[in-house]
């Protein structure tokens, strides 16, 4: 068992949940409210110094009773010690965790991917947008267990949406603000954007 777990318990007390030793790797569960404090402590405290964030991901079990888990893989590079930190989220409740981008810049895209695939919101993330799916994707969160393998919409509907997407949807509003690109758009595109119809496809009859 990784000695950081005992140190965490003495510092944070009941905010640290159970700790497991699975095939040589230590997993420690942390209360959601204290996540960022725990992470900052793990990164900055001498003797622990997990400076390197290996990965951020999430797990949803097939068993609906079990909560979703957000998993952080931490590593102390100079000591060759790994620690896996998990936060449990009730799938029916509020899927929000504190972002750790302020601690590790590398978490930026990793948290965006978890948001994109699981619908977990990272509060305090500077730019939480979908990353692998497109911005106007409306079928849900692909890696959730209630999401069917082939997507929610029929293949015909997916094709129809792909063909009908309006061209201005390829740029975000932030990008269209660059160099007044918005003013150079054709009138119909500007009209759609003004009405807030960015990339929305009309319902099929």
């Amino acid at each position: 068992m990784n000695p950081s777990v005992d140190a965490l318990r003495t510092t944070f007390g009941s905010a640290i949940g159970r700790a497991l030793d699975v095939r040589g790797d230590t997993i420690v569960y942390v209360q959601r409210e204290r996540l960022r404090d725990v992470m900052r402590w793990l990164r900055d405290t001498p003797g622990h110094e997990y400076h390197y964030l290996v990965d951020v991901t999430a797990v949803e079990y097939r068993d609906r009773e079990r909560p979703l888990e957000v998993v952080y893989f931490l590593r102390a590079l100079h000591r060759q010690v790994d620690l896996r930190v998990k936060v449990e989220l009730d799938a029916t409740g509020d899927l929000t965790v504190d972002s750790v981008v302020s601690l590790w810049a590398g978490a930026d895209w990793l948290e965006r991917e978890v948001y994109d695939m699981f619908g977990i919101t990272f509060s305090g993330h500077p730019d939480l947008r979908r990353i692998l799916m497109w911005e106007t994707y409306s079928e849900g969160y692909p890696l959730r267990k209630d999401f069917p393998l082939r997507g929610r919409f029929s293949r015909a509907e997916q094709v129809r949406q792909a063909l009908n997407i309006s061209p201005e949807a390829n740029y975000s509003m932030e990008e269209l603000s660059i160099a007044d690109a918005y003013d150079d758009l054709p009138v119909d595109m500007r009209e759609r954007l003004r009405k807030g119809e960015r990339g929305r496809v009309q319902e099929s009859e």
Partner: protein, 424 residues
Amino acid sequence: MSKRTVELELATPGLDAQGAPVRVPLAPAPGDAPDLGAEHMLVNLGPQHPATHGVLRLVVELDGETVVRVIPHIGYLHSGFEKLGEYRHYNQIIPLTDRTDYLSPMANNVGVAMAAEKLMGIEITPRCTVLRVIACEMSRIISHMVWLGTTSIDLGAFTPFLWAFQERERIYNLQEMWTGARLTTSVTRVGGMMADIPDGFVAGLKEFTRTYPKTLDEIDHVLTRNAVWAGRTQGVGVLTRDEAINLSLSGPMLRASGVAYDLRKDKPYLGYETYDFDVPVGEHGDVYDRYLVRLEECYQSNRILAQAVERLPAGPINVDDPRVILPPKSRAMSDMEAMIYHFKQVMEGVKAPVGEAYVGIENPKGELGNYFVSDGTAKPVRWRIRPPSFINLASIARMAEGRLLSDLIAINASVDIVMGEIDR
């Protein structure tokens, strides 16, 4: 953007008394001087652009030629591999990994098999260990050769591209000999290998390791002290040591920034601690150092290959466990017990115990992690790939903003991205 015209007087106003043209000093046209610094430009690079190495799209805000902002768009190649993995047996996941980082398929096969073996508590055989080292290092060489070739084309050098792809072709021929495929290798199985190496493979690999450094020397000779190459790469895309760690970079990107971290040395797997090789580390963290690190890694991979092929032990390639390894077809057709094992494996798959396992291996592009979570069935609850080039690419905005547009091309090339892995 409003249109601007700048009027210049170019012609001389006439001839003087001696018949010679009157020379007028070049001066701006009268009137208000145009404000050239005011307007930014929006440039869309990709997704179909040869310098973005795949379907990467970069929306760039330019001030003149200076990059003000880079907004990357990815996902054009998203295939949902992680979702597909949840519907497949562990051995059926291996073909999916060919298609993630398709420039080093055999190393991906090794990574996912190792994660499944850690989950199931399987110890592989000595021969299999060495064969996997050979697979990993062959992959490193072909991946770095593609990187070297395409990057040199991006920066205007065509010849190294041809040399690099010629060497890659020789590895591909060996790969084809071993697996029957050039790209979709699927060379590993949980607990062993898909096939042993064929006759003539060892001789072919020895011949490769003997002659390959000569090509590397040639590439080194053409590029390393080339003024154009150095000018376009030195001091470009600099990331400091602390930045590289904070951005979770891995592989040559991390080492070029001066962090001596290589999983083969620091968390040895497949017996890498018993091979004699060096890990090159840069000091400036720029594009040039990334080039030097990758070039030297090619030499070192060649050293490992030469050692591995010498020590290749005899013996079985698969573990002796009928629950995970299919019996030979001849036995499955004649022996009742073997047939039952065959049937159970094909129909039910190999059940993994409840729990989870993460294995990170040093892939050509960085740390490739495979994370399996199992609920005791034959299909994983969650299969996560830690994609090294996805995480490395996330740093592109920080490296490119404030630099020139031509530097953005060099920086993007230096990350060594492969969209199959980024989008998964």
